[in-house]
C-alpha cells in the first residue's frame, strides 16, 4: 500500500479555474431555468427541470465514483489509500446531492401532486439510498484500525450498486406518481421543449462541475485529516514514551 501525498491546503490553480467554471455554469443554469416559459401541464413549476434532474443524475455519478474507487481499493494490485479517501469524499458529496434531490423533488411535488411527500417507489428508493449512504459515512468514522476500516467500508460501498439501479429503474418497474425519465419525455423538434432541454443540459454540466470541484476539495481535505490523525497519534505516543522514561528515571 502506498501513502497519499499531502497537499499544502486544498486549493490549487487548477481547482480555482474549475470552481470559476462551475460557478459560471451554475449561474447560467439559474438564469436559464428561471426564465423558462410556463408549461401547459405544470405552469411555472416545470422550471425546476433545470436543477432537479441534473442534481439527481449527479448523485448517481457520485456513487459510481464511490463504487469504482472502492473496487480499486479492494483489488490488491490497485490498493492505494487515495482510492479509499476518494470513495469517502465522493460519497459525502453524493449525500449532499441526494439530500438536494429529495428537497427539490419535494418542493416540486407540493404544488404539482398536492403533497410534500408520498411513499412512491422512486421517492422511497431515493430515501433508502440516502440513509444507506449516511450509514456508509458513519461506518467510515468508526474507530478501528485504518486498513481494516477502509476494507470494510469499501465492501459496504458495493451495496450502492443495487441501490442506485433500483432507484433509477423504480419509475419503470413500478407504477409511480413520479414521472419517467425527463429527457425521454422531451422532443427537441418543438421550440418550447428545446428551451427546456437546453436549460436541463446546462444544468447537467453545472452540477457535474460543482460535483467535481467539491469532490476534489473534499478529497484533499480527507488527505489533510488523515495526516492530522496520524501525526496526532505520533505526538501522543511521544508524550507517553517521555512519561515512561521520566518514571523509569525516578529513584
Amino acid at each position: 500500500m502506498t501513502t497519499t501525498e499531502t497537499p499544502a491546503g486544498i486549493g490549487s490553480r487548477g481547482s480555482f479555474f474549475l470552481g470559476v467554471l462551475a460557478a459560471l455554469t451554475l449561474a447560467t443554469t439559474v438564469v436559464l431555468g428561471l426564465s423558462l416559459p410556463l408549461s401547459t401541464e405544470q405552469g411555472p413549476y416545470s422550471r425546476m427541470i433545470a436543477i432537479h434532474p441534473p442534481i439527481a443524475t449527479t448523485e448517481y455519478v457520485a456513487y459510481a465514483v464511490t463504487v469504482l474507487a472502492s473496487a480499486l481499493y479492494l483489488w490488491p494490485r490497485t490498493r492505494q489509500r487515495r482510492w479509499d479517501l476518494l470513495a469517502g469524499a465522493s460519497a459525502e458529496v453524493g449525500a449532499v446531492f441526494t439530500a438536494l434531490t429529495l428537497a427539490t423533488g419535494s418542493i416540486w411535488g407540493r404544488p404539482t401532486w398536492g403533497v410534500w411527500w408520498v411513499w412512491d417507489a422512486r421517492l422511497t428508493s431515493t430515501a433508502i439510498l440516502f440513509f444507506l449512504v449516511l450509514g456508509y459515512l458513519a461506518l467510515r468514522r468508526v474507530p478501528m484500525e485504518l486498513s481494516r476500516r477502509s476494507t470494510i467500508s469499501a465492501v459496504a460501498a458495493l451495496i450502492l450498486v443495487p441501490a442506485v439501479v433500483v432507484d433509477h429503474y423504480a419509475v419503470t418497474w413500478w407504477r409511480t406518481l413520479h414521472q419517467g425519465a425527463s429527457l425521454a419525455q422531451l422532443s427537441p423538434g418543438k421550440s418550447l421543449d428545446g428551451a427546456f432541454i437546453a436549460a436541463m443540459l446546462v444544468g447537467f454540466v453545472a452540477m457535474g462541475l460543482v460535483y467535481a470541484w467539491l469532490t476534489l476539495h473534499r478529497f484533499r481535505l480527507a488527505v489533510l485529516e488523515e495526516r492530522a490523525d496520524i501525526e496526532g497519534l505520533d505526538i501522543a505516543l511521544e508524550e507517553r514514551r517521555a512519561e515512561g522514561l521520566e518514571l523509569a528515571a525516578r529513584p
Binding site: 499531502t6 499544502a8 486544498i10 411555472p44 418542493i107 460543482v210 467539491l214 473534499r218 481535505l221 489533510l224
Partner: protein, 54 residues
C-alpha cells in the same frame, strides 16, 4: 416569480454554498494545525522530500 420555484433554487444554492464554506473552514483550520509539517521540507542538497506538496 413563483414561491415554490424560488424555494427550490434557493435551497439548492444555499445548501451548496454552506457545504462549500464548511469545507473551506475545515481546511483552513487543519492547515493551521499542520502548518509547520506542511512547510516544504528539503534535504541538504535541496531535493524535495516526502512531506512536500506536489
Amino acid at each position: 416569480m413563483n414561491g415554490y420555484v424560488s424555494l427550490g433554487y434557493g435551497v439548492t444554492l444555499a445548501t451548496l454554498a454552506v457545504y462549500t464554506l464548511r469545507l473551506m473552514a475545515r481546511s483552513r483550520a487543519l492547515s493551521k494545525v499542520l502548518a509547520p509539517e506542511l512547510a516544504p521540507r528539503t534535504t541538504n542538497s535541496g531535493a524535495k522530500t516526502e512531506g512536500e506538496a506536489p
